[in-house]
């Protein structure tokens, strides 16, 4: 299991999927699309200095990533939401999120690959 994805949550999702690869494609595909849009909206808010809008996008990213087990990224979102991030500027927070989100999205795509072959 990729370290960016929580094995316990992934196991629960596997149990829920019950061998249905389409469920995972739907779930991870939805997360992937949504994460891209939310991150773009966080970027736009950061560029415009709109902190409330920025935090709202971070909150949405946090919830969504927890549901697919992307806990490392979710923890960064939580730190930002709670004002515990090691940076204070919105641009800095955005930078903090960018790579872990990218890694999580790649990890989920990796997890889908064998399922697509099997399905």
């Amino acid at each position: 299991m990729h370290p960016a994805i929580d094995p316990v949550i992934f196991a629960e999702l596997e149990q829920l999927a019950d061998g249905d690869a389409e469920f995972f494609q739907d779930l991870f595909g939805t997360f992937d699309e949504q994460a891209e849009l939310l991150f773009a909206s966080a970027r736009a808010a950061a560029n415009a200095g709109r902190s409330r809008e920025f935090l709202s996008a971070v909150h949405a990213l946090n919830g969504s990533s927890r549901n697919v087990g992307a806990m490392e990224f979710a923890r960064i979102c939580t730190a930002i939401e709670q004002g515990k991030a090691p940076v204070s500027s919105l641009a800095g927070m955005l930078e903090l999120m960018e790579e872990p989100l990218h890694v999580a999205r790649l990890a989920l795509r990796e997890l889908l690959r064998p399922m697509a072959v099997e399905g």
């Binding site: 629960e12 829920l16 909150h59 919830g63 969504s64 927890r66 549901n67």
Partner: protein, 223 residues
């Protein structure tokens, strides 16, 4: 789920093309009871006799109402006439969350209840859908665009036509006993659960609240 309003597909009896009720447009006929235009051939069936109108849809009566309800909730237009709620398979469960991932998981988990699953992405849309289709259970996020999930609960519980709905509020923000007590006392929620929700918790939550809805439980049964 026996029916799901968010992705209802119907076939045009004229040309056979599948139409998605979410993207098809209302016909422009001046009528309190309009039908949808087929995307492919552009024809509607408003002026046809009943037999022809029914041929427009693969599964007529209930499908018309489902399609209309969803369309109205999407456009936030006021309901021109009440949909036939009785045609929808029960239990009707409404999930309100702006996180699409939650809807994908809920669809999977709640399928076993063999009813109708409704989806809304914000509190206002959820309220309209609930007012129209009077779900047995509403599962809503607390932190929502347009109308807060707790406020949605309060509105549903204080309106005679929706006060029977069981309401569960999910939250990742308002955690702790103080918020829980406030949600129960002030916003009349039946269950208050912390996010993220596992499939087991969601399944149990729905089963418990739907059971309570069949035989109303004593006040204060919030979990």
């Amino acid at each position: 789920m026996a029916g799901e309003i968010s992705d209802f597909v119907f076939a045009c009896a004229w040309c056979g093309t599948d139409n998605d009720s979410l993207t098809a447009e209302w016909c422009s006929c001046v009528s309190s009871n309009p039908s949808l235009d087929c995307k492919a051939c552009g024809r509607c069936f408003c002026k046809a006799d009943r037999a022809w109108r029914e041929r427009f849809l693969t599964s007529p009566a209930a499908a018309v109402h489902r399609r209309r309800s969803m369309k109205l909730s999407r456009s936030f237009a006021p309901a021109a006439d009440a949909p036939a709620v009785d045609d929808l398979p029960r239990p009707i469960i409404l999930v309100v969350d702006d996180d699409k991932v939650v809807h994908v998981i809920a669809k999977r988990v709640l399928a076993e209840f063999n009813g109708t699953l409704l989806h809304a992405a914000d509190g206002e849309a959820g309220l309209r859908l609930a007012q129209q289709l009077r779900p047995d259970l509403v599962i809503t996020d607390a932190f929502l665009p347009k109308l807060d999930g707790r406020e949605l609960s309060q509105r549903l519980k204080t309106a005679p036509e929706t006060q029977h709905c069981k309401v569960a509020v999910m939250t990742a923000l308002y955690k702790g006993l103080r918020y829980r007590a406030e949600a129960i006392r002030q916003f009349h929620v039946d269950a208050y659960v912390e996010k993220p929700l596992t499939a087991d918790v969601l399944r149990k939550l729905a089963a418990d609240l739907l059971t309570h809805n069949e035989a109303p439980a004593a006040a204060g049964a919030a979990s």
